[in-house]
Amino acid sequence: MATKPKDRPQAPAANAGMQKTSNGQAPLPEAKLKQIYSTMLKCRTMEEKIRILFKQGRFSGNYYAAVGQEATEVGCAIDLRPTDTIAPSHRDFISNLIKGTPLKSMISQIYAKKTSPDQGRSSPAHCGYAPLNIITPASTIAAQLNIGTGVALANKMQKKDDIVMAFSGEGSTSLGFWHEAVNFAGVHQLPIVYVIQNNLWAESVTVKLQCKVDDLSLKATGYGMPGITVDGNDAVAVYRVASEAIHRARIGGGPTLIECKTYRWYGHSEIDPAKYRDPAEVEYWKSRDPLPFMENYLQKYKLWSDDFKKQILDDFTKELDEAIEFAEKAPFPEPEEALDHVYSFDIRDRELNRKSWTPTVLQK
């Protein structure tokens, strides 16, 4: 006989759980709401500043702004502990700010200076920070998510209650690596939260050509884990959904797949005019800017004042300017530092490699 597949085993439970905490009955603590807003505002401020610096030619390379996606990034990552791990993609530079990487280190990364966490090795947006367990990203799509899955495995093995927050774009979900990692986390019930930032575009490719389904959290069905789609521009909704997933992961309840529907305001990178998009689509999403949305929310709960915003901006702008000045003045790495950190045995590297273009036999 032909049988209809059993219904998704876990997703309903998760959704059910979601109802309890995420439909707005109990408002979040005031301090948390303010923290979410102020962090989003800082992210926005920093990235718009970085974009200007790029246009001014003050750093080389490129930058992948998450402007428009702050509610997702902040809502997911704001409550992480220092010992939790973030697996960021190319568009998650701001996750460093959220988790607490020093601004001077971050802006040094933008300038590829010796003072950056990777001493100028990766491209500007690719910032990791070991002291806070932010994985230094490769550009390879989904690579950090895979490594993050391994960190979650270690957490489980070591019986720690640290969790992993792994970001990916909707484009990433098509990649084989992505599938292997998420499936693995399902089998081993790892303490990890997978967040798909569905910003509708992977570079110039629409999500319609990426995947046949509309709600990417449906993919969770095939991995036997809870899946949920949330408005990624609503920081409070994201926060609630993420909190539940983080909590579940922490107490050994396994992984969750969250899709945040959001939008990338600008081009894929600073050199992409993004002409492939309908201007009306861009306008629509700009009208759903997560920042005013959150301002309204604060107003509703009488937590808002113009001064509150001004204070955040004043303080942060000062800090940011200092960081920029620091980074601009910081030295570049020395050329020969290119030979370091290949292996754990450093001196050997240099010896080995000097031979690369100066044959020893002729040096004598």
């Binding site: 390379g61 491209s123 490769a138 098509s174 690596f177 020395e334 490699n353 273009w357």
Partner: protein, 328 residues
């Protein structure tokens, strides 16, 4: 003949082949509405439609494997990998399927496809937008690997590859896209696969390279002539697999000295193979050690400008090796 950049040569090569043969189609990330990350496929979706210029999902494995299948079923796919740094998901498709399908089926099933891959450093791309990785494929019998260094060859090798019955990996260097111009015929022509070319005749030593560093090598050779009166014969490999050993060995027999130049890091770059072939088959001809000018053995090209500069071969580094070779 009009002057053309390397990337325009690729673009018009694609257009001409798609016009000539309706079985030719393109698939890859951002090849359609965006016209490619570097605009190599610009205008093609407008001309040939989205069925023949396919914006694929973000999945290099199926970009290549679907091309293998369609080629087997009569199409002539021209898949693209945006950066060779991201070719790894397609590693099985390329090395285990495309390279071995003809062999494992005793010639009854084949996959004539042309996989375009953008590679190379020197443009500030950093660790994951500057790699070379040609070795992985030059090492695989069953694949033809080409890497043009000039606009003329870029077009001619591309057209030859698309018409060829074997799977061809076509490496295009991003630094060359807009930095060199050359006369490129508007009439149909091809450049033969599997044949190196002597770009510059010389009598004192043989220098061998491909891609971007071929251009540097040529400049170094000119300077060696004008500044030191040393005549360097320059060979452009063009095809990295299978290697055109005759052209190399004949030149070495004439000049008796060899300098090999590659952008790739040192260990097991293509120069290693060329050196080994010469040391085996032209040993008697050699009057000096076979010198290699390569990048250092580090995992990839770091981003920060001083680090990238340290990595890349330069005209000066090549000349240093040539001088030492000559003085030996």
């Amino acid at each position: 003949m009009p002057l053309s950049t390397y990337i325009d040569a690729i673009n018009s090569g694609l257009r001409e082949e798609m016009t000539r043969d309706e079985k030719v189609y393109i698939i890859g990330e951002d090849v359609g509405v965006m016209g490619g990350a570097f605009k190599a496929t610009k205008g093609l979706i407008e001309e040939f439609g989205p069925d023949r210029v396919i914006d694929s999902p973000l999945a290099e494995g199926v970009i290549v494997s679907s091309s293998i299948g369609s080629a087997m079923a009569g199409m002539r796919p021209v898949p693209e990998i945006q950066f060779v740094d991201f070719v790894t998901p397609a590693m099985d498709a390329i090395t285990q399927q495309a390279a071995k399908l003809r062999y494992r089926s005793a010639g009854t099933q084949t996959c004539p496809l042309t996989l375009r891959i953008c590679y190379g450093g020197g443009v500030g791309g950093g660790l994951y937008h500057s790699q070379t990785n040609t070795t992985w494929f030059a090492h695989e019998p069953g694949l033809i690997v080409v890497a043009p260094s000039t606009p003329y060859d870029a077009k001619g090798l591309l057209k030859a590859a698309i018409r060829d019955d074997n799977p061809v990996i076509y490496f295009e260097h991003k630094k060359l896209y807009r930095s060199v111009k050359e006369e490129v015929p508007t009439e149909d022509y091809t450049v033969p696969l599997g044949k190196a070319v002597v770009r510059r005749e010389g009598s004192d030593m043989t220098a061998v390279s491909y891609g971007y560093t071929m251009q540097l090598m040529l400049q170094a050779a000119e300077k060696m002539q004008s500044e030191h009166g040393i005549s360097v014969e320059c060979i452009d490999l063009r095809t990295l697999n299978p290697l055109d050993l005759d052209t190399i060995l004949n030149s070495v027999a004439k000049t008796n000295r060899v300098v090999l130049v590659q952008e790739d890091h040192r260990t097991l770059g293509i120069s290693s193979e060329i050196s080994a072939v010469i040391a085996e088959q032209a040993f008697e001809c050699l009057d000096a050690p076979i010198l290699r000018v390569t990048a250092p053995d580090i995992p990839a090209i770091p981003f920060s400008p001083p680090l990238e500069k340290f990595y890349m071969p330069t005209v000066e580094k090549i000349m240093t090796a040539m001088e030492r070779c000559a003085q030996y």
